[in-house]
């Protein structure tokens, strides 16, 4: 496998894990714009432990996951009292605080960043992403997942039904933070270098876009969203120059054909994002769509075996 392909697969895997981290809180009705903060915690924990103490990768990843989960839990308690745009701002502020703290810390290399000695091959994030995907699918199929969806749909009625809203929210948010931290740890070991600038607001926005545009109704959403938005720029990277060559060949005059070139990747990405919001506001993958696909399969397994617990 070429270095390019394995690099893409590693990024894809990291983005999927990251998207699932944010998904767990969004599926509970809590928008989370602090993704970069949690990823930074995981990445720096892994980088620091690897660089300073020479921890094996397995341990640094675990530490990143746990530390980020603890951070998530600690801020979930006060932060989840806020709602809507205030919650978005609060999570966003958290990410900024983390970035600011890291930037001003000599221990963590400040603006210089940290070189990470431990390197992982592309298949490590891919395998972990597969495990995380199965884990999130499992969570969503349990009673706990049903409670998350209930809170997402209608917090007040969930309360009346006796769902412990706060507990479910805090657990989902913390688990999500842990997954984002795991993605950060994998990032550190894949690129063997971390710097604060990588964990910026754009990253938080992108990962939230993966989730929202992929669809929050099922665990397929973040998978589809992260895959689509990670691969699209790469596909366009090849496609755009080819289109240009084609157009030049057609018109026969290279002088007057400016677009589309490389830089148009992000224009197309932006346009697609807006189109998705207009035409599929509930995301790429929705429940009715999955139900439709299931019906069309000839011997669809009857859903009557639906689990109670």
């Amino acid at each position: 496998m070429s270095g390019y392909m394995s690099g893409i697969l590693a990024i894809l895997a990291i983005n999927i894990i990251f998207a699932y981290g944010i998904y767990l809180s969004v599926a509970t009705g809590q928008l989370n714009l602090g993704g970069a903060g949690f990823q930074a915690v995981g990445a720096y924990a892994a980088a620091y432990l690897s660089a300073t103490y020479g921890f094996p990768v397995f341990l640094t990843l675990l530490s990143g996951l746990l530390l980020s989960g603890v951070f998530g839990f600690a801020i979930a308690l006060p932060i989840l009292r806020t709602r809507g745009v205030y919650l978005v701002l609060a999570t966003f502020a958290f990410a900024e605080v983390i970035a600011g703290a890291l930037l001003n810390s000599d221990t963590f290399g400040g603006a210089m960043g940290i070189s990470v000695p431990g390197y992982v091959e592309w298949y490590v994030p891919v395998i972990i992403a597969a495990v995380v995907t199965l884990f999130v699918f499992y969570i969503m199929s349990t009673r706990f997942g049903l409670n998350m969806r209930a809170i997402h749909d209608d917090e007040e009625v969930s309360d009346l039904m006796g769902v412990p809203i706060r507990k479910v929210k805090v657990i989902a948010f913390s688990m999500g933070a842990a997954l984002a931290g795991l993605a950060g740890g994998l990032y550190a070991h894949t690129f063997t270098f971390v710097e604060v600038q990588s964990f910026n607001a754009i990253l938080s926005i992108y990962v939230l876009l993966y989730v929202l545009l992929g669809g929050t109704q099922t665990a397929w959403g973040p998978l589809a969203g992260a895959t689509f938005f990670t691969l699209l720029p790469e596909v366009l990277r090849d496609l755009l120059p080819a289109t240009k060559t084609f157009l030049v060949g057609l018109v026969g005059d290279a002088e007057n054909v400016a677009p589309p070139d490389e830089s148009w990747r992000f224009v197309i990405l932006g346009v697609l994002t807006v189109l998705m919001m207009v035409f599929r506001p509930e995301g790429l993958i929705t429940r009715p769509m999955l139900a439709h696909l299931r019906l069309r399969r000839p011997s669809a397994p009857n859903a009557s075996g639906e689990a109670l617990e």
Binding site: N147, G162, V163
Partner: protein, 247 residues
């Protein structure tokens, strides 16, 4: 079964319910009437614990539950069907019903679901369909079905007939009658005064958060001031002072 003493509910400086006394007996149907803004919804929400009280006591089955969480009240056997058919729209019919069994940890949930599907054949047909695709009447039945899965002994309903077709209003009141026959006490807040008084044994009339009238249902049904205010008898004259706002 339910005793309310001197209940106060306030939102900031607004007093939604003021020193209200009321009771619901075992297996009784009681209705609460009053115009918009009379405090009926606030009363039900306070009874279920969705809003806090600022005075008074709520006693259910001899136990003071005034400070208990909604979950504890559901467990104790009382459940509120909120106004506006608030079902979980991203879920299937079956998942909605399962949410009603949230606090149950026994093995009979499946059996009770079957019972509920027997009661609501329309829901049984659509059990794996999205609850969003149900008609308004079916959604109301689902909301009631979801409440029933919790095996309540007192079910409180907030304007259940609101926005339903006449056919479903009839079905709804038939259903309430059946539930009452099965031993469930009902506290009903309704716009449809005549049908509510038909099914209830007693009624309370609220106005601006205070109880202004309390009587047997037959007596309330023949109370001219009340019927004029609610059933649009004669054109408004001074006699309807008890309830000056037309619903």
């Amino acid at each position: 079964m339910l005793e309310v003493e001197a209940l106060n509910v306030t939102y900031g400086r607004t007093r939604a319910v003021q020193s209200l006394d009321m009771t619901v007996g075992d297996n009784e149907v009681v209705t609460v009437l009053g115009s918009n803004g009379a405090g009926k919804t606030s009363l039900l929400r306070a009874l279920q614990g969705a809003v806090g009280t600022s005075g008074g006591r709520i006693v259910f089955d001899g136990k003071n539950i005034t400070a208990k969480s909604p979950a504890a009240r559901v467990k104790a056997g009382m459940v509120l069907v909120p106004e506006g058919r608030q079902i979980f729209v991203s879920m299937t019919v079956n998942e909605n019903l399962l949410m009603g069994a949230y606090l149950r940890r026994d093995d009979n949930i499946e059996r009770d679901l079957t019972e509920i599907y027997d009661r609501f054949p329309n829901l049984a047909e659509r059990r794996h369909m999205s609850a969003k695709t149900l008609s308004g009447g079916e959604q109301q039945m689902l909301a009631i079905g979801r409440a029933l899965v919790g095996r309540p002994r007192l079910i409180m309903l907030d304007e259940p007939s609101l926005g339903l077709s006449p056919l479903y209003v009839d079905r709804l009141f038939n259903l309430l009658g059946e539930l009452n026959k099965d031993g469930i006490a009902i506290l009903l807040v309704e716009q449809n005064t005549s049908m509510a008084l038909d099914i209830a044994s007693r009624g309370y009339v609220l106005e601006l958060g205070r109880k202004v009238l309390e009587d047997r249902a037959e007596a309330l049904a023949t109370n001219t001031a009340l019927t004029e205010a609610y059933l649009g008898g004669s054109d408004g004259d001074g006699s309807a002072r008890v309830l000056d706002e037309q619903p």
